[in-house]
Every structure is written in structure tokens, then in C-alpha cells.
Symmetry: C2
Subunit: 345 residues, 2 copies
């Protein structure tokens, strides 16, 4: 019932506690025979080190924090995107012997709950992942001054302990728009996410630069903004398409919004892809199952998580990873995009 400690092993082996500690840690100054005896007894008693004690003396907890932000339902953990990223974190952290603690931070910081950093200090968290951070996050200034390494997903931050990973939205969107233009579309709308997400800015950037590169005019009237959700995407699309019925293609900044666009198109009697082509972003599981299946930009979610974890452990061990890493999002052409049927003026 009671946990076995180094002391228990030491007594049984007839050596000092230190000898046991060093034997188990693989130091060379313990004799072969003694070490063998110690290891055997440790195994026999199913010894597990008490990490709290170790943490106290080494000042390293072996814990990384995951902060999942997001004020609204459907954000944060609930996002279909998060799962594989977290799997990437966990697998890669396990390689380096780290565990992960999850913190939810959806309450405004004025409430009496502790700030990020306070939480980290209590638990001696060595580094942290941040998901769902927004440009208007009130904690932002705390973060850039962070004493521990932080890796943000999809949102670069100034500060020499902060790093970020994400996909190269600009070039990804570029590829999507080019794909649509290659098919013959001239009037391509964007249903973007809210501006407080920095990916929204980047994707808008990619959209504009692609249009300009391709010699297509930029029309603010066919730029819509939603909240990354399906319902929001549908609404934004509907009011846009009613304003500009000559749009033949829509790029949506997330698959959820793209699925909303699909739904909206159905409601307006527009056939996809015959009357309207739709491209999403993320390649969530549902994207392949919609009707028609969604052309989208695949984000390597698991690899994003792995990469983030590698950067974080590196930073925690005194190395200096690049402050920003961008992976490539690949275009996956499915049934929701095709040549436009009707040629409009």
C-alpha cells in the first residue's frame, strides 16, 4: 500500500540511500555487483521515483503546460483541429520524458484566477504550449515577457522566450486561389475568420497577393468575415452571395466555415461544384465526408504538434530553436471545385 522509497531499497540492499539513487541513475561509481542487487530489489519492490521530491531538489518538474484558450464553445478543445495536434505534443514530449498538464483559460483575467505564469510557477512548469491565442488577448503582454519558453500555435509573438509554429498560410492560400483561377474562376470570394486570429490576417494577405499575382481584381464586396464555425460561415456566405451573385468560387479560411458555405449554397439552390466551387482550410475528418467532398488545404496537425514539442523541449534545454517554424499546407483537390459552368460578365 505505502509507496516504496529509496530508503526501503537501501535497507534491503544494505547500502546507503545515495548509493541506490546513483545506481538507479546509472552513475558509474557503483560497483557492478552492488548495482545489480539494487536494480533487482527496485524491480522486485516495483519502485517508482517520487517526482515531487525530485522536482524539489532539481528544480525541474518535467512538466509542460498546455493552455487552451477560447472564450466560445466550439473553440479550444472542441475544435476538430486540436486533437491530432495534442497527440503530436504528447508523443514527442514522451520521447524526452516530459508529461503535460492542461490548463483552460477562458475566463477574463480580471477575475481572481491566477495568470498563466502564476500557474506555471506553482507547478514549476518548464514550458508551455498556447493554443487559440488571439491578438486581443489581454494576457499578451505578460506572455512576451515570459520567464519560461512558450510555443504558440498559429500566432507569432515578440519576446525571446516565445516561439511559434503554424502553417504557411500565405503560400497555402496562394495555392488555393491559383487552383481556382486555373479552373477558370475570375470572381473568387473569401470567407475569412475573425481578425483577432493572426491566421486570418495571413490568409487575407495570401488571398490579396494571389489575386494580384493572377491579375484578378480585388473586390471588398466579396470579402466576408465569420467566426471559424460552420454556422457563422454559412451566414457570412449567404449575405455575401446575396450581395454578389456573380461569385463562382469561395475560399473559406476553415473547413467548418467551408461546410457552412456548402450548406448555404444548398439553401440558395446553388449546386457545388457546378454553380459554385468551394475550398476550405484544415482538412478535418469531415471534409472528406461532405457532399461533395471538400477541396481543402491539409494542415499536418500531428506534425505541427510534434514540431512544437521539439521546439519547446529544445528551448527548455538551453538551445535556441528558430523563433518561428512554418510547415506546408498541401492542397487536396476533391469534388467541391470544378470549372465554372456559366460565364458571367
Amino acid at each position: 500500500m505505502s509507496r516504496t522509497t529509496l530508503k526501503d531499497i537501501a535497507e534491503k540492499a544494505g547500502v546507503s540511500v545515495t548509493a541506490v539513487s546513483r545506481a538507479l541513475s546509472g552513475y558509474p561509481d557503483i560497483g557492478e555487483e552492488t548495482r545489480g542487487r539494487i536494480l533487482r530489489i527496485a524491480e522486485e519492490l516495483n519502485y517508482q521515483p517520487n517526482i515531487a521530491a525530485r522536482t524539489l531538489v532539481t528544480q525541474k518538474s518535467g512538466v509542460m503546460g498546455l493552455f487552451v484558450l477560447g472564450r466560445a464553445k466550439g473553440e479550444g478543445f472542441s475544435h476538430p483541429f486540436s486533437g491530432q495536434v495534442i497527440n503530436g505534443f504528447l508523443d514527442e514530449l514522451a520521447e524526452d520524458g516530459y508529461d503535460m498538464m492542461v490548463f483552460k483559460a477562458n475566463r477574463p483575467p480580471d477575475s481572481d484566477n491566477s495568470s498563466y505564469m502564476d500557474l506555471c510557477r506553482r507547478r514549476m512548469v518548464e514550458g508551455a504550449f498556447l493554443m487559440g491565442l488571439r491578438t486581443d488577448d489581454p494576457w499578451l503582454s505578460d506572455l512576451t515577457a515570459s520567464a519560461i519558453p512558450i510555443v504558440t500555435m498559429d500566432m507569432p509573438l515578440a519576446g525571446d522566450m516565445t516561439f511559434s509554429v503554424g502553417c504557411d498560410s500565405v503560400s497555402a492560400v496562394h495555392a488555393a486561389i491559383r487552383h481556382l483561377a486555373d479552373l477558370g474562376h475570375r470572381k473568387i470570394s473569401i470567407v475569412n475568420g475573425y481578425k483577432e486570429a493572426s491566421v486570418s490576417l495571413e490568409r487575407f494577405e495570401g488571398y490579396k497577393s494571389a489575386l494580384s499575382d493572377l491579375g484578378l481584381p480585388f473586390d471588398p464586396a466579396i470579402v466576408a468575415e465569420a467566426d471559424f464555425t460552420a454556422a457563422g460561415g454559412k451566414q457570412a456566405f449567404l449575405s455575401m452571395i446575396d450581395r454578389a451573385p456573380d461569385v463562382t468560387a469561395v475560399f473559406a479560411s476553415s473547413d467548418l466555415m467551408a461546410l457552412g458555405v456548402l450548406e448555404g449554397a444548398r439553401e440558395r439552390g446553388l449546386r457545388v461544384p457546378e454553380d459554385l466551387s468551394v475550398v476550405g482550410f484544415d482538412n478535418i475528418e469531415m471534409a472528406a465526408m461532405s457532399s461533395p467532398p471538400l477541396t481543402t488545404l491539409d494542415q499536418p496537425r500531428y506534425e505541427l504538434g510534434q514540431t512544437a514539442a521539439r521546439m519547446l523541449t529544445a528551448a527548455c534545454n538551453g538551445e535556441t530553436p528558430p523563433s518561428r517554424v512554418l510547415l506546408k499546407a498541401n492542397l487536396i483537390a476533391r469534388g467541391s471545385t470544378a470549372e465554372p459552368r456559366k460565364s458571367k460578365t
Copy 2:
């Protein structure tokens, strides 16, 4: 830079470390004036207790573990279901001052990674949530003998430290089948999940008992089994409907599978709900956005998480929560169910 400790405060306040500890913990044997001074200094130095040290002496870590099992992609964290449940865990745990550590356990136990319990013992985890457990899980026997309280989601376990929460599948499915029968359906198929999930057994039970209560015949030929995914649900549905084209309604054990059924129906030229009614289970976000929107059984995911957390903290504090709690899943009628058009023999 260096963390402030009780000692720092004690020196500055001119009292002993114990006095500071007791003042901050709210013990009554510290004078009002002294306490005020201590609190002010603690605030001033932004004191945060070192939880590792506290853990060491109190033998309580204040950490609950979350084990997310699942061997396949799309299970575990990636499941659209998990997010809100986890939010429920976290919010409720925060009420009681607990934090949560996440462990991923998708590797077979024969690999050299530690067992659940070893992980818990190292970190002095006080209790654990288990999601995604299957009846053929090789760890099952360890779990029932667990020394710490465990709450499983959707899978009751024998053992006096194990508890479970879930929805009352039997009565929920009963309601779904009754809904279909009330509409006039006589030939109702089930697309169930794999048998290793105990909810699959319960849902099958509900299906059979509902049929019998409603005086409908049970036909093994229209029972299909899939893996809870959309793609799997579609396949299972297709081979079932090809065998039994006179089926007019399908109950699927998860929304993802139901969405797969919708897709399969589209592929076979069956109109939903005119030619085929479909009911899902879960009420995931996408269910309301499909075409047509899915009639489904709403699982109160956040409340499931909250309830689980309440049970776990109770059990950790020596109380004895009921060994199994079932919440109600409510039928949400949407566009995917209607009266059958054609009357078949």
C-alpha cells in the same frame, strides 16, 4: 528571477516560516496584525507556493490524471465528442483546486512504457479519468484493482475504487426507435459501433427491447456494425441497404456514423428523409449542419465531464459516490426523420 519562498516572506516580516505558512493557510492562531503584514508582503513579492514541496509533505498532489485511450486515429482526443467533456472536467476540478495531467495510452502494454498506475504513482496522481476504454483493453484487470479512484466514461467497471458516468443508452435508443416507429417506420436498421465499446452493447440492447416493446420484428440482417467513424458508417450502411433495400429508417450509434449513412444514402440515390430516415447519437456540432440536419440523441457532454469530476473529487476525499451515474440523452428531432413515403411489404 528566483522564486520567492516562505522564508523570504518570513525574513521580511520578522516571523518564523511556520507563522507565514499558517497565516497564508488561514489558521486562526496568527494575530490579525501579523497576518495582515504577512499577506501584504506575500502579495508584494507575488508569492506562489511551491506545490512540489507541498505535495511532498502532504502526500497529496492536487493532480488528477486524464487517460485518453484509443489505438486508431480519430479516436481519443480527435473525437469531436471529447472536447466539451474535458472542459467539464477542467471547470469542475478547478472548483476544488485540482489540476489535470494528460496521459496518452495508445501503445500496447507489452512495450516498456509504464502502466497506468506506475505513471500515477510517480506523479502522485490522486485520481483518474479514463476515456475511450474498451472491453478488450489489456489493462482492464489492473484498473479494477486500482489503488486510486478512477472514473471511466461510458464503461462501467467492477472494483470498489472505480466509478463510471455515461448516458442512459438503453432508454435513449428506446426513445429514438419509438420516434421512428411513431412516424410509421416498421423496418428500422441499426448501424452500431464495435462490440468492444460497452455502449454498443447497451445501444443494441435498447434497440432490441424497443423493437419488442413496439411489436416490431427483430431482423439480424439489418443489424450492421462499424467503427464509430463516418467512413465506417457509410460502408456498413451500404452493404446493409444493398442486402435489405426495404429498410426505411436507420438508427446509427454515433453522429459520425449517421453522417456516413447520409452520405451513403446520397450515393445510392436515396433521399433523406423522404426515402430514408436517419437518427444519430451524440449531437456533435456537425449534426445540426448536415443536409438535412440530423435527428439525434443529445449527450450533455459538458455535464458528463462535470459529473465525472465531481465523483472523482468526492471519491478522493473519502466519500463514496454511486458507482455508476447515468445522465439522460434527449432526442432532438431535426430534418433527417419523417414519415416513410413508400409503403413496402
